[in-house]
């Protein structure tokens, strides 16, 4: 006896298939030339004090490709020069639970774009918003704040290892001691 598969089952199966799509989307075109960005190039070194707060949530929080790009940019833009690979050095570590200026995506975005006292330079105008959000996604993952299904399954090295940003960490705390 053959019964037609209920339509609801087909719909459920399709939903299962599509569930992981956001993880694998490659957002090459997310910021096109037509859409403006929050940072406009300015020819002066002087900036007004307040900056409209950027979106609360990072658009790439659930995207594995953006996280991998953030990891590449973290080295490329020499973040590792001060923060090492998350362990800290001249700058504070990024893989612990201590957050001087907040652990929310918007806080990290502001830290990169505005800079912070005692050494963190401002990357205003220097890094496009899309790449800042990619960096935010990677930086959050270093302290275990990324969703588990977005994390890389293995490290980049030839020898098998857990990715350094795929460990779970304690709840982030705001230390408030710059």
């Amino acid at each position: 006896m053959s019964r037609p598969i209920p339509r609801i089952a087909v719909a459920l199966a399709a939903a299962l298939v599509m569930a992981a799509c956001e993880r694998e989307v490659r957002p090459f075109q997310d910021v096109s030339a037509a859409t403006a960005r929050s940072q406009k190039p300015t020819l002066s070194e002087l900036f007004p004090g307040t900056q409209p707060p950027p979106a609360e949530e990072s658009p790439y929080q659930k995207n594995a490709y953006a996280m991998a790009e953030g990891k590449r940019l973290f080295d490329s833009y020499n973040c590792s020069g001060c923060h090492a690979h998350g362990g800290g050095g001249m700058g504070p570590p990024l893989m612990d639970d201590q957050w001087i200026y907040g652990s929310r995506p918007a806080n990290i975005f502001a830290t990169i774009v505005e800079g912070r006292p005692n050494g963190m330079p401002s990357f205003r105008n220097k890094i496009p918003d899309q790449q800042v959000w990619e960096l935010v996604a990677f930086i959050q993952s270093m302290s275990g704040q990324a969703p588990i299904d977005v994390l890389p399954s293995r490290g980049d090295h030839l020898r098998y290892s857990t990715a350094e940003n795929a460990r779970r960490a304690a709840t982030p705390k705001l230390t408030g001691h710059p």
Binding site: R26, V31, S32, A33, A34, A36, P41, L43, P128, Q130
Partner: protein, 332 residues
């Protein structure tokens, strides 16, 4: 009959298309490529003759008249002689092929003439970096996606990759050589006459592998020396107000995170050096001709030209974009 002739005339250019042009192994322009091409022609012609003979034998077997005594042992005996003869001929041909391949391969391992210059080839996703070393460090020259070589002189290529495996291939000058991360590989090229040849990455290396090309400009020694002399100069000072404004936008914008313009404060090494970008024939690793319009489209939205490329879109104000273009075009 007429239609058949038309068809042949129409298809002939397709067959011979690969025998001309500036990216064709059957148009050898150097000793190594010539050795490869003559070996190729030799193998191809012998195999073509054998192919025709086999087809003729097959056709003859199909159409020949059958005889009553075909299954007699005498016939089998005769067939065995033919098979034995064909085997001996096959072995002889294979031995000749092996010897000629080894002889051709020997000519490829090292340059024949003296006076070799060395160029470092660095592969990136998805562009090429060519570095000319010198005894004076300030005379080092970096030329992205455009390899200039003097004519008639063997050029030693030291190749390495910064990310994944790529392969350096200029079909008119030599065979392929892989670029391996963390390991220097060597090859050499030599062009016998001036010309512009196209090279291409020949090892799949990611999203934009197909758009990872470069040009090889072979020119007489005096022209080559003049070129390298001009490339040693730092970027020319912008002459007009718009070019000066373009330089300021360039230095205050995202460009400086990845690109170098020698003579300014832009010194990042992630993307191609732009000190003499105006003098190059192509942009985006051989993807587009270097015109103001193409450059503008590329700077504003590289992702629509080369999706996945490392360069982000740059939503500059129209006046800023025009100023940057004027500045970049002035870097000759």
């Amino acid at each position: 009959m007429m239609r058949l002739r038309t068809l042949i005339v129409a298809l002939a250019p397709l067959v011979f298309a690969a025998c001309r042009g500036n990216q064709a192994m059957f148009n050898p322009q150097g000793p190594a490529a010539r050795s490869i091409a003559s070996l190729g022609w030799f193998l191809l012609s012998v195999c073509a003759v054998i192919y025709v003979l086999v087809l003729l034998a097959g056709g003859w077997a199909l159409v020949r008249r059958r005889h009553v005594g075909d299954d007699l042992p005498r016939t089998t005996q005769k067939l065995t002689t033919v098979v034995a003869g064909a085997t001996v001929v096959s072995i002889a041909i294979l031995v000749v092929f092996t010897i000629s391949s080894v002889v051709a391969g020997h000519g490829l391992t090292s340059p024949t003439g003296p006076g070799a210059i060395t160029v470092d080839v660095i592969g990136h996703q998805w562009w090429w970096e060519f570095q000319y070393h010198d005894v004076t460090p300030s005379d080092f020259v970096t030329s992205p996606n455009e390899l200039h070589i003097p004519v008639g002189v063997p050029v030693h290529i030291k190749a390495i990759s910064r990310d994944v495996i790529h392969s350096f291939w200029v079909p008119n000058l030599h065979g392929k050589r892989d670029l391996i991360p963390g390991q220097v590989t060597n090859t050499w090229i030599q062009a016998d006459q001036p010309g512009v040849y196209r090279g291409q990455c020949a090892e799949f290396c990611g999203h934009q592998h197909a758009n990872m090309a470069f040009v090889v400009v072979a020119e007489p020694m005096d022209k080559f020396l003049a070129w390298i002399g001009s490339q040693r100069q730092p970027a020319s000072e912008p002459q007009t107000d718009e070019a000066r404004r373009g330089r300021d936008v360039f230095l205050q914008s995202t460009c400086v995170m990845c690109h170098t313009v020698r003579g300014t404060s832009a010194g990042a090494r992630l993307g191609p050096e732009l000190t003499h970008v105006g003098s190059r024939m192509t942009i985006a690793a051989g993807t587009l001709p270097n015109t103001r319009g193409h450059l503008g489209g590329w700077v504003a939205d590289p992702q629509s030209v080369k999706p996945g490329v490392r360069m982000p879109p740059n939503p500059l104000e129209p006046s800023d974009l025009q100023a940057v273009l004027t500045y970049l075009r002035s870097l000759r």
